[in-house]
Symmetry: none
Subunit: 406 residues, 2 copies
């Protein structure tokens, strides 16, 4: 029994007046065929009315407790980045190259949308630094984005962002979020790092060259989402099935790596609107040969939702329907399609509205629903579930759940 | 985004044979228009099958834990009574003027339905007493009803009622409900108070006059629902929104005051069947100018339910539809209509049957339901929720919920 869990990030939406949602508007004959043969429902990933982040939503869906097993966003990004190997106790942050003026005010949060190749060359000024016997690991990922890791004794993830999250603001000093010596030390290191990095980047020949060319120098890094990495029980040990992850975005690969799923590298899976869905579908089928469950992540719907781009969201669904569903429906025995959260075009951000869920397979009861969308899913026989229910339901539809009692 | 939460007390009911429920029978075009444009569901205020009191039901709906944050009925009544300012540690009771004979047997639980003005004159015999260095505060409220507060060191709310809750029974002695010194002391004070109050009231000229006129003397007070007042986290701090309360009944104003809502005084809001709904609606709209959420309470449906008066309950709904809904639907962006519990006419008391809930607003998904009643609500897309879900759902419909994770 091979099963697929496809998460269409942020795909849930709300009708704006009479305008149908992207799921209602999209032509998606292949998905709707699965709906006709299967059953629908609604999922409140973190509970009713709760607005989930993508990271916590995925953790909950995979059967992990977001209060005791969530390390923060930074470690996930680091785990999803090639070339970084986290060790327990490491503190990881998401980082952005940015431009600051002499007064440390941010004039561009993306350092003039610096391209990947140029940003990559600046990595060496940060990676390998040492502050208070703490090693600094830094990797540029895409464009202005990167990951920063502190490795040393007695550190803590309970420190605030140096990123003020808006252009025109001053860079922030990192503050300890609890009164532990570890948090105080880590905040101090982050603030020393901010100053040292600024000096090094300001004097880097690559940046002097950018200034000469009239480009914004990448003379600062903004750090956010700090958290301490720790190990959790592996997905296979928790649920008794082997799982693989097919995703483009580093966050999703990072969540999968955190819980010990095998992360498949797919060239062409970029995590953006140009991602090669056909290659991802092929990789999912390939991964199913030695895994019970394949987690396939599709990002674009969420990005379009953040932009309020209804057409873009609709076209993502149509592309999935055309490029992914025919191949996976020929090759998987159980297919579950859902989302991590809603990203309604009206809101241009995440919301706590429940996401539709579709289950198709031999052991799934049919319920007479014919169209996979938020409104019809409310009538489906799966009912209204929470994220932590999903793995248990999937195990049951795979007949791989353990009996409780005799 | 201005939102209204209207609680129609006890409005949930059950069909008696083929007789429709009051909500089904009532002509309520305005409410049903909101139903058509919004969505329905069922709410189990305190959990499935649990029969709620009005006080605990409201607490749960507002997102408070009834096991650790419920002070008992007395403090709510005291907080809802003008002129009483509770301090943490105060023990508050609901109190009734009653008539007892020489053997302390209750011959009339309402002292011959004594009218407010006469009862008010007896206040002075009780208010200001001091027993074991404990100050007695007493306020008459409406007719035979009042509130008694004990203020002093080392008291406890864990004492039993002196009110036997039936005519013809002897007045009860207050017993300590745990073995603490505080509970023993408080019970002792209550029993001294019972005797002293009886002496004072029996000799009061106002009562001698009543006897002369052939009226029942108000020669005793019966106390019940004792509890210790303590402070809880304010509603605004818990949920991040500012709320106002528009209610007639002192209990509902008391619950609102307990959680730090602003309580609006509305002349004409009496909490009974003659309450001026038009003034309440106007006060709600007014309060929305400087509050994110207005809690509007309508009592009469519950009182009619207790009387088994199906027609009365139906007419309450029709009056709400006519006098409240048009004005509020023009002025609020989100409207939620529900109840604290069912008070079925067949039962003439509270029951654990879930109450219907209606949500209407731009961010609420429509579900095709057209009539706000208990039976149609069972098919609604809100599904079946519990009381503690409601605030989170409302925050989501207001887009004021915090993201968990990133």
């Amino acid at each position: 029994m091979k099963s697929l869990l496809m998460i269409m990030d942020g795909i849930g939406d709300i009708r704006d007046g009479n305008r149908p949602t992207p799921l209602e508007a999209a032509r998606k004959p292949n998905i709707d065929r699965l709906a006709k043969e299967g059953s629908l429902g609604l999922m409140h990933t973190l509970g009713r009315g709760v607005k989930p982040g993508s990271d916590t939503a995925h953790l909950a869906i995979f059967g992990y407790d977001i209060f005791s097993e969530y390390p923060g966003r930074g470690p996930f990004e680091a785990l999803g980045t090639e070339g970084i190997h986290l060790m327990p106790g490491d503190i990881a942050f998401r980082a952005n190259f940015a431009t600051v003026d002499k007064k440390m005010k941010i004039t561009d949060r993306r350092a003039g949308r610096i391209e990947s190749a140029s940003a990559k060359k600046l990595e060496k000024y940060i990676n390998g630094m040492e502050i208070e016997k703490t090693k600094v690991i830094f990797k540029q990922t895409t464009e202005h984005r990167g990951v920063l890791v502190l490795r040393g004794d007695r550190l803590s993830g309970r420190v605030s962002d140096t990123d003020p999250h808006e252009t025109g603001a001053m860079i922030k000093s990192s503050e300890h979020l609890d009164t532990s010596a570890e948090a105080k030390k880590t905040a101090r290191i982050m603030n020393i790092l901010t100053n040292e990095v600024h000096k090094k980047l300001s004097n880097a020949p690559e940046n002097l060259e950018r200034i000469k060319k009239g480009l914004h120098p990448a003379n600062m890094i903004l750090c956010r989402g700090g958290g301490e990495y720790f190990k959790v029980e592996k997905f296979e040990d928790r649920h008794g099935i082997k799982a693989a992850c097919v995703a483009g975005g580093s966050l999703y690969k990072g969540v999968a790596a955190f819980i010990g799923m095998d992360v498949v590298h797919v060239s062409g899976a970029t995590g953006d609107r140009y991602s090669d869905y056909f290659s991802k579908a092929r990789a999912a089928v390939q991964a199913s040969k030695d895994h019970d469950l394949v987690f396939l992540h599709v990002k674009a719907g969420d990005s379009f939702g953040h932009d309020g781009d209804h057409d873009g969201k609709k076209s993502t669904i149509e592309k999935v329907d055309k490029d992914i569903i025919p191949m996976v429906s020929d090759n998987f025995d159980l297919i579950v399609i859902t989302a991590d959260h809603s990203t309604p075009c009206m809101i241009k951000g995440h919301s706590g509205h429940p996401v539709p869920i579709l289950a198709y397979g031999k052991l799934v009861r049919k319920d007479g629903c014919v169209n996979f969308n938020e409104y019809e899913a409310a009538k489906g026989s799966i009912g209204q579930i929470v994220g932590e229910d999903l793995m248990q339901l999937m195990l049951n539809w795979m007949d791989k759940n353990n009996k409780i009692g005799e």
